[in-house]
Amino acid sequence: MPVITRRGLLQASGLIVPSLAAPAYAQGAPPSKPDRIVVNASGGAMANFLRRAYFADFEREHGIRVIDTSPVDFGKLRAMVNSGNPEWTVTEIGGQDADRAREMNLVEPIDTSIVDLSKYPAIGRQSHIFVGSAYSTVLGFRSDVFKDGSHPKGWAEFWDVARFPGARSLRNHPVDNLEFALLADGVPMDKLYPLDMDRAFRKLDQIRPHIAVWWSTGAQPAQMLVDKEVVLATGWNGRFFELAKKNAPVGSEFRGGSLKSSAWGIPRGTRHAYWGQKFLQTMTNPKLQAIYATELSYAGLHPDTVNYVAEELRPLLPTAPANLAQQFWLDVAWWTENGARAQERWNRWMLQRG
């Protein structure tokens, strides 16, 4: 017959303590199901495709409704977490803010016992951020103005207004533009960082008179190309992909494109964090990622995803091997550190009329 000693009791309770400290769901049985979770993302057409690819599958599997909200807003995320009761169960986070979200302790760690990242490439295996997909800022052009592949290939040619005349549009933001300016100035792709801001702005001075519009929302460049307000524009590849699928005379060039990953996180302190992790697990499914990529071209990082996408669409994916090789990954760390300084300089530069 076992003798109950004080030490034995202490040991037994010592075993219990760590599991009390761990989140409730680590104790075995999953926590009770809420009737809904809230997933915050970029909205627009994207919301429909997220629903078709991931929300529908999650709802079917778990019987929990997914409510979607938008837009992605880092300030709001911070305010929510500080308030102690975040409304969002899962939120997309603007690419540049992903590091900050972790540093400022705004997101829960990714629980890899639920979210299986074992097949993911290194860039997709982060402690607090789930990489939902990759997208790229690329060069869009009117394919009726620049026929049969005669469009500018890369940024040096985008800058060449003599050979490629016409109004252009760039984003009203230093991100990407500083990189593009440096690439146009002959800096090799793997030597971009740390960015030489003086050199970049000097190069931007040259193109400024030819920029009819500095765009501020993702819909603008696509719309302006369709309206022929401009003939060349930078834009997010998904917007141009959408036009290509509608047979609009707009093409996109991946050379020199700026790759970014869309980041997702679970706001710290949100009530249904466990189901947030489950939702992210749904998002790792390559077949669902392929549905999403087929609609929007923003392919998830699961290596099998490309295989589930129709062959004719693969060249339009930023993650297609041939395209990957021609683009660079935006250095989020550099921008986190220097973003404010670059933005202030950008504002100042924009104010110089001329």
Partner: protein, 290 residues
């Protein structure tokens, strides 16, 4: 105003008036409390955020850095332009509405308020379709043979002014309309009876009496203009920068809330100063007219 009635002693009357005033104040109390709670308190919090850590460094940056001063002055200029254009367009409309028959009033109000039911973003995109280089306006002018090259209506200050005036026009029309309704038509009839031509009776009687509405409309439009950022960002094509865009940038992108608070405080003070100025100008104008 009726003259004091002989049978009511003055003291009694004053007491009753005071009681009525207290009763009215009570009626307004819930709204005042709500405003204090959801408006005054957050504004105070914002102001205190701007001097976080007991330093005025943020104000120093806002005041000494040419960038923010230039943008603030630019925003004030745009807001003033929008207000002036709105006033010029709104007064005749308000005047017509105040004299219109029932059908005219219904139609006019419908046309005026219709844009209110559409989101600002949608309206802004609609202007982009209308005003672009190959937009409807330019195409019509070109087809009519009036212009050769498209007019630059979009992605500049012109585009911003058109878009903002469109959004803000009702805020100018409605107060002026309300003020004009309160003007006793007998007064202008009396003026005309005394031999004043219609334009003179308007200038000396109707217009001065409508000034409270003009002042309210100007203040509303001016203050709302200063807060705009979606419309100028889209229609200005990046060439027009408003202070609200810089504040939004600081809040959303850089999480520099203390500096954003300092910029907001400067904007708030500038707004209050101009608000006071408008009030004083219109009061002065009213006093100057006999």
């Amino acid at each position: 105003m009726s003259s004091p009635r002989a049978e009511t002693p003055g003291a009694n009357r004053r007491l009753m008036a005071r009681r009525r005033e207290a009763g009215l104040l009570l009626l307004g109390l819930p709204a005042l409390l709500l405003l204090a709670l959801v408006f005054a308190w957050p504004v105070l919090r914002l102001l205190s955020l701007s001097v976080e850590g007991g330093t005025l460094a943020h104000f120093e940056k806002a005041a000494l850095d040419g960038l923010y001063v230039t943008v603030l002055l630019d925003s004030l200029r745009i807001a003033a332009l929008v207000t002036a254009i709105c006033l010029a367009l709104a007064y005749p409309v308000a005047f017509w509405l105040s004299r219109a028959g029932r059908l005219g009033l219904a139609l006019g109000m419908f046309a005026l308020l219709l844009p209110f039911w559409t989101s600002v973003l949608v309206r802004t995109y609609a202007w982009m379709v209308l005003l672009g280089r190959n937009g409807i306006v330019n195409r019509m002018l070109r087809d009519a043979g009036w212009i050769e090259a498209p007019l630059p209506l979009l992605h500049n200050t012109t585009g911003v002014l058109i878009g903002m005036v469109h959004v803000l026009l009702p805020y100018m029309v409605l107060p002026i309309y309300a003020a004009l309704l309160r003007v006793d038509p007998d007064l202008s009839r009396a003026a005309e009876g005394l031999g004043a031509p219609a334009w003179r009776s308007f200038l000396r009687v109707t217009f001065p009496l409508s000034l409270p509405g003009v002042s309210a409309g100007c203040a509303l439009v001016f203050v709302l203009s200063l807060g705009f950022f979606i419309t100028p960002a889209l229609l200005g094509g990046g060439h027009v920068i408003m202070i609200s865009m810089l504040i939004e940038q600081q809040v959303r992108e850089f999480l520099e809330w203390p500096f954003a608070a300092a910029l907001s405080t400067v904007l708030l003070l500038a707004t209050l100063a101009i608000y006071a100025l408008i009030g004083r100008l219109t009061r002065g104008a009213r006093l100057a007219t006999p």
